[in-house]
């Protein structure tokens, strides 16, 4: 596992040693089968980078399909105009990656500007990246693919649960009322983050199940990605 380099605002090396020690201890006790530590971090980062690209390509594919309908062109017609095979156009429309040259040609053919290209919000891309990386880490830690993929509601639950000290404090004191209060706080925060009421109820039991399944991946993932990139 690549060392997590936590940059402190005051330049104080506060907690990173403890964090690294515990993560390292875990991987020393239960090493990954066929993956070296360094390459594991690289794989996590790769998933982390790949997800936004996929999201952007999907949006661009939808945009090309819409422009084809508006212009009443066929995929073959567009392919002939820009000198590619029809299967390439079909691949882009399905959400496949498109090169910059081909994208420029598509824009010229449609007489469009770069600013017309739909780009998802940054936060959407970042969350998609975390979902991909978390799923990968969870799969590696458990040795099997997770039964249910992590959705956005669960992501925000984990984010609000592990960004504050209240949940851990309530567990340490073993006070059920505090746990219920914290579950309500997390539910309100998730609703504010999603912009709408979450489809499933957020309760103490659901939060406990969620942390049992995903907290390990979360703790490993947050130490592998953003910290290392902050210093690069």
């Amino acid at each position: 596992m690549k060392a997590a380099t936590l940059t402190d605002a005051e330049g104080c090396p506060t907690y990173k040693h403890v964090y690294e020690k515990i993560i390292r201890e875990h991987f020393a006790a239960s090493p990954l089968d066929d993956v070296e530590d360094e390459s594991f971090a690289r794989e996590v980062a790769k998933r982390f980078r790949k997800a936004p690209l996929t999201l952007c390509s999907r949006s661009i594919g939808k945009w090309i399909n819409r422009k084809l309908r508006e212009a009443k062109w066929t995929q073959q017609g567009l392919a002939d105009r820009i000198g590619v095979d029809r299967s390439a156009v079909a691949y882009w429309i399905r959400g496949g990656n498109i090169t910059l040259d081909n994208l420029a040609q598509v824009l010229i053919e449609f007489k469009s500007q770069w600013s017309e290209l739909p780009i998802p919000a940054r936060q959407e891309m970042a969350i998609a990246a975390y979902l991909a990386a978390l799923t990968f880490v969870r799969e590696r830690l458990a040795g099997a693919p997770p039964g249910k993929p992590l959705d956005r509601v669960s992501f925000w639950c984990l984010y609000h649960l592990l960004s504050e000290r209240f949940w851990a404090e309530a567990l340490r004191l073993s006070v059920p009322d505090l746990l219920s209060t914290e579950a309500q706080r997390v539910a309100q925060a998730v609703e504010a983050s999603l912009g709408q009421r979450p489809p499933t109820a957020v309760s103490v039991a659901s939060l406990q199940r969620l942390t049992a399944e995903w907290a390990g991946a979360w703790l490993v993932c947050i130490g592998s990605i953003p910290c290392a990139w902050a210093t690069q």
Binding site: A9, V18, Y159, A212, W229
Partner: protein, 311 residues
């Protein structure tokens, strides 16, 4: 035996196993590994949607979505400095207030006819002066400025001053002689001044607390603004790079399109010239054939006419 990470996950999921119990007992120590690990996890979790992550992803700035408002952690220097300085500040302020009260008390003011000697408060026998008096100016028979009878100077047989103070401290300011009532009034006045001074010190302490709170808020705000500025700078740099790249790509695309179009036009022009040349050749050929036919048509009838002309 589970690792610390597994035990932490078990604890966070509300488990009741041995690992969870171990973590719970470790968390009782705020400086323990478990507490520090959770603190680090909290900070890293808050950083999940921090600007540097977006920068690391190489994402372009666009309509920013709803980012939860997680307050930034307090500046560590401020957290450490204020609790550390606090007792010293209180002690210094209290000492200053008491000294100010003692120095501004009218019973300690110097008399104009006794230069230097009234500046000291002379304690009863065996006591110790609160302010130093030069030995040359001090006489055993000198009266105290506030009417206190001057005691004799301590001799070598007297017990050490510090011990005497410890033993006789409650008696040190007891009134003597005929001015008991005046002294009692002075003591009451002194007490009231002391209370007023304490009240003033309390007010100063309150103001200081307010100022410290404001300062802390300003530091937090400054920290937040600093991060925001850094994020904006990074975004601006990314934007500039993207604009430059887009300009290059656009110029390249336009150049490619123009080159292709020019080549196509030249090709079409060549074809058109060739067609024109072919058509011109065909037209010339047709013209020749036409001329020949005309010539033939005009020669044959003349010959027939010559033959048929009567001789």
């Amino acid at each position: 035996m589970s690792t610390q990470l597994q035990a932490m996950v078990e604890f966070l999921s509300g488990g009741e196993g041995a690992g969870s119990y171990r973590i719970r007992s470790e968390l009782a120590d705020p400086e323990g590994d478990a507490a520090r690990f959770l603190a680090a996890a909290r900070r890293l979790s808050r950083d999940v949607l921090a600007p540097h992550v977006f920068k690391g992803l190489g994402l372009p700035p666009s309509a920013r979505g709803r980012v939860p408002d997680v307050p930034p952690p307090l500046a560590r220097a401020a957290q450490r400095r204020f609790p550390h300085i606090l007792p010293w500040l209180i002690t210094a302020l209290s000492t200053g207030a008491v000294l100010w009260l003692l120095l501004t008390c009218p019973c300690h003011h110097p008399k104009p006819d006794g230069p230097g000697q009234a500046a000291a408060l002379v304690p009863p026998a065996g006591g110790e002066a609160l302010l130093p008096i030069p030995s040359a100016e001090r006489k055993p028979s000198d009266p105290a400025p506030s009417g206190i009878t001057a005691p004799s100077l301590p001799s070598k047989d007297d017990p050490p001053a510090r011990a005497v103070i410890a033993a006789d401290k409650p008696k040190a300011f007891l009134p003597r002689g005929d001015d008991d009532v005046g002294l009692l009034k002075q003591i009451a006045d002194l007490k009231s001044r002391l209370e007023a001074g304490e009240a003033e010190a309390a007010a100063i302490r309150g103001q200081r607390t307010d100022l410290l709170t404001k300062m802390r808020g300003i530091e937090v705000e400054n920290d937040r603004l600093g991060r925001q500025t850094a994020g904006l700078r990074q975004e601006a740099a990314g934007l500039e790079a993207q604009i430059e790249q887009l300009g290059k790509n656009r110029a390249k695309a336009i150049e490619t399109a123009v080159t292709n179009q020019t080549a196509l036009l030249q090709e079409n022009l060549g074809k058109a010239r060739e067609e024109l040349r072919t058509e011109r050749a065909g037209r010339e050929q047709l013209q020749k054939q036409f001329d020949e036919q005309i010539r033939a048509l005009s020669v044959e009838p003349r010959a027939k006419q010559k033959e048929q002309r009567p001789r």
